[in-house]
């Protein structure tokens, strides 16, 4: 039991923090958001140079062999700096699909390109009717000569327009919500039959709705078992949950720090407003909520490599629940204690708030995970 970072981990943490502090401060980010693309390829290549994009892949595949702790370190920094580039969708979510589902040949083909920043991926899984139910896939995958034909709609695919290549889930057999019959298919964003309707998200990211009209996928572009992908999907999403929890902790930490600083400097009625006891106690409650969230993000990191998918899912739901509660409280109170300035887009805290609220909408919100947890065995079950 030791929560201290190793020397290498501390080095990673410092270098990421230094890099974002230098080239991804609030003004730099504002310029990126205002640019036509809404994201920065330069920032992306810088992450590649730092080795962040190949981080989670095994060295034999061309990666750096980082584990959940390393991903946590990067994601926390991303949360603090509000990085909008598609790190989570490419280097966490799609990467996990490749790692757990992809054949060695596929990994050999893709990982080096991902690691050096040339290949951006997105995971096109969610559908309009699915809310966050992972098995709820209506997109069909039909076996044809030499490959598959995909038909269907994917919605709110984060990074879906930025990606060079999509990993698309499709159903070979069974009704929606059936646990088997799902496959994963690599689709080029510009392939015939793919229509991408791109838009901005509330928190300044890019997302897309994607229509697949008889899109042909060659056998070589199938990721793993074309009729048994749900366990891979579930595992990848669980890894994404652990990562987004860390991102949320980074954003909360920054929001609490900014709020405390504001309370110290902002004067009202002739004194710093941080001298008002009601606001002091509110800040203390924010701090408690932050530490509880940090604890559960660590719990997610501890549990994400768990082999038993049931146990892993319970842990991820528990972490996401705590994050949801803490993030909503901290975000709202950060705005409240900042007052008017927090309501404007000219100040960072409002952006942190927006990201925190939107994190609840990715991979299942509070209610979704409470249901999932309540349906399972007790979180406190002892070995």
């Amino acid at each position: 039991m030791n929560f201290d970072l190793s020397e290498e981990q501390q080095l990673l943490k410092d270098s990421v923090a230094r890099t974002f502090a230098k080239s991804y401060d609030f003004e730099a980010r504002a310029r990126i958001l205002a640019s036509p693309a809404g994201w920065s390829r330069a920032a992306w290549m810088q992450m590649a140079e730092l080795g962040l994009l190949g981080l989670p892949f095994a060295p034999e595949d061309g990666g750096f062999g980082g584990g959940p702790v390393e991903t946590m370190i990067v994601m926390e920094a991303i949360g603090r700096a509000l990085v909008v580039e598609p790190y989570l969708s490419t280097a966490v979510l799609a990467a996990a699909v490749l790692r757990h589902g992809g054949s060695p040949a596929l990994r050999a083909r893709l990982v080096p390109q991902v690691a050096d920043g040339c290949l951006i991926l997105a995971f096109a899984h969610g559908e309009p009717q699915a809310r966050w139910e992972l098995s709820d896939v209506a997109t069909s995958a039909e076996r044809v000569e030499g490959g598959y034909l995909l038909c269907g709609r994917k919605s709110v695919v984060v990074g879906g327009d930025v990606a060079d290549m999509l990993i698309v889930s499709g159903r070979m057999s069974g009704p929606p919500r059936h646990p088997t019959g799902l496959g994963l298919f690599l689709v080029n964003g510009s392939a015939p039959g793919v229509t991408i309707k791109a838009y901005a998200t509330q928190d300044g990211r890019r997302a897309a709705d994607i229509r697949l009209d008889s899109v042909f996928v060659a056998d070589v572009d199938v990721v793993g078992d074309p009729a048994g992908a749900l366990p891979v999907i579930a595992r990848a999403v669980d890894e994404a949950i652990a990562a987004i929890c860390a991102e949320a902790v980074g954003a909360m930490d920054e929001a609490v720090a900014m709020t405390v600083e504001y309370l110290k400097t902002r004067q009202q009625f002739g004194v710093a407003i941080g001298t008002f006891q009601a606001l002091q106690h509110r800040a203390a409650d924010m701090f408690v909520a932050l530490e509880q969230a940090r604890s559960m993000a660590l719990f997610a990191v501890m549990s994400v490599a768990e082999k038993n998918p049931q146990t892993r899912a319970i842990a991820m739901s528990a972490a996401k629940i705590q994050i949801a509660r803490s993030a909503r409280f901290i975000g709202e109170q950060a705005i409240q204690l900042h007052g008017g300035i927090g309501m404007t887009m000219e100040y960072k805290v409002g952006h942190l708030f927006k990201r925190l609220v939107m994190i609840d909408k990715e991979f299942g919100d509070l209610d979704h995970h409470l249901d999932r947890l309540a349906a399972g065995t007790s979180l406190l079950e002892e070995a």
Partner: protein, 397 residues
């Protein structure tokens, strides 16, 4: 005790509702349902429809266009407007500067400004808050110096809602810098076309532009535009803020939003199962409806008491119980927008600017309204200030 509305009051409610059904363009209603804002022209159009009906400024003195309705009827009218939902008139004119002018203004000011406010011929905005003075309003720094028959204003106002549409602004400015904080402030009416007035719109976290910074650079204002007495502006501001607080419960808006939530939750959004099938969601909505009903009852009690007061002593002063209406009103508006956003699910991520994709019409006014309405617990006297008012003015702590 006479619990419940009289038959006459119930008939009056029906009359208002029938009028709204007949007179309000459907597109306005839909925009408001979806948390969108009417354009300047649309609001002016609707204000003139109301004005033609004689209902643009019901709470004003009859002499200036008021209806003579008692507080209960006024409340019913507001409630029906809000829950329809129909547009409310521009409060900066009809509920803020209007009452100040007819209560403290000169005869000439009344004649000049009130009819134009009632018809929205003038679009007013509120020049109170400053960057350095939020809840501590009296710490304002904008100065107005007498120069012959003019005042010369220098300073900066902040969080000025819809100033980008406004042609008039009412300003609190310091006219005596030697006096104590609350003294030495005057209430001035300023034509925004005056040289030296600059407006800078500021984007808010909902992605909209409704607040502004307003700069005053040697702006010359005729002394005729001083309301009431010089250095007495703080009294008029308190009067204005007291009126404002009373209108902040806006129960009708929360009712309308709860109803919209129930409607959306009963439907299959994009093919998903109706959310109302989830017992946890149903309970959350039911619990929220209880809180809304409780606030509605509390508002009735405050209004009934005001009517009682009014009969006994003439115009009532702001009731400290109105702080309850402000606190719970803002909290419930926020809670309803939060539930609406949660109902929408992953689609809440979609930003509804010009480029928004098809298929998410149900999601309009979800996240954006949630973000926008965080302001409610901040402005108009933050909820923290309201709690202090309750503790001191009501509980005597």
């Amino acid at each position: 005790m006479e619990l419940g509305f009289t038959p006459e009051e119930i008939a009056f409610r029906q009359e208002v509702r029938s009028f709204l059904r007949a007179a309000l363009p459907e597109v306005y209603r839909r925009k408001l349902s979806e948390g969108r804002r009417l354009s300047k022209d649309e609001l002016a159009h609707w204000t003139r429809i109301l004005h033609a009906q004689g209902w643009a400024v019901p709470h004003w003195p009859v002499e200036w266009g008021g209806t003579g309705w008692d507080p209960v009827r006024q409340m019913i009218f507001r409630d029906e407007i809000q829950q329809f939902p129909a547009p409310e008139t521009l409060s900066f004119g009809t509920s803020m500067v209007g009452p100040v002018v007819y209560t403290f203004g000169s005869r000439a000011q009344k004649a000049r400004f009130l009819p134009r406010i009632a018809r929205l011929d003038d679009w007013w905005c509120q020049g109170f808050s400053e960057p350095g003075a939020g809840s501590d309003l009296a710490a304002l720094k904008t100065r107005a110096v007498r120069d012959g028959d003019h005042f010369v204003i220098n300073g900066q106002k902040a969080w000025t809602t819809l100033a980008q549409h406004a042609n008039w602004i009412f300003v609190l400015a310091r006219t005596d810098s030697t006096a104590k904080k609350q003294q030495g402030i005057s209430f001035l009416l300023v034509d925004m076309a005056s040289p030296g007035v600059t407006v800078r719109p500021v984007e808010t976290i909902d992605g909209g532009f409704e607040i502004n910074e307003v700069f005053f650079d040697d702006v010359r204002v005729p002394a005729d535009n001083l309301v009431g007495a010089e250095n007495k502006g703080w009294d008029y501001a308190k009067f204005l803020l007291g009126n404002e607080r009373n209108g902040q419960a806006r129960v009708g808006l929360s009712k309308a939003r709860a109803r919209r939530i129930r409607e959306l939750a009963s439907a299959s959004l994009n093919g998903a199962a109706p959310r109302l099938a989830d017992p946890a969601f149903r309970r959350r909505l039911a619990g929220l409806e209880v809180e809304i009903k409780a606030l509605e009852m509390t508002q009735l009690r405050v209004i009934a008491a005001e009517r009682g007061e009014g009969q006994r002593q003439g115009e009532g002063k702001p009731n400290p119980a109105s702080s309850i209406l402000k606190i719970r009103g803002s909290e419930l508006q926020q809670a309803t927008t939060e539930l609406l956003m949660d109902l929408i699910g992953p689609a809440a991520l979609v930003r509804h600017a010009d480029e928004g994709p098809d298929g998410y019409d149900f999601a309009r006014g979800g996240a954006s309204t949630y973000f926008n309405l965080r302001k409610l617990s901040i402005y108009g006297g933050s909820n923290e200030i309201q709690r202090t008012i309750i503790a001191k003015a009501i509980l005597g702590l």
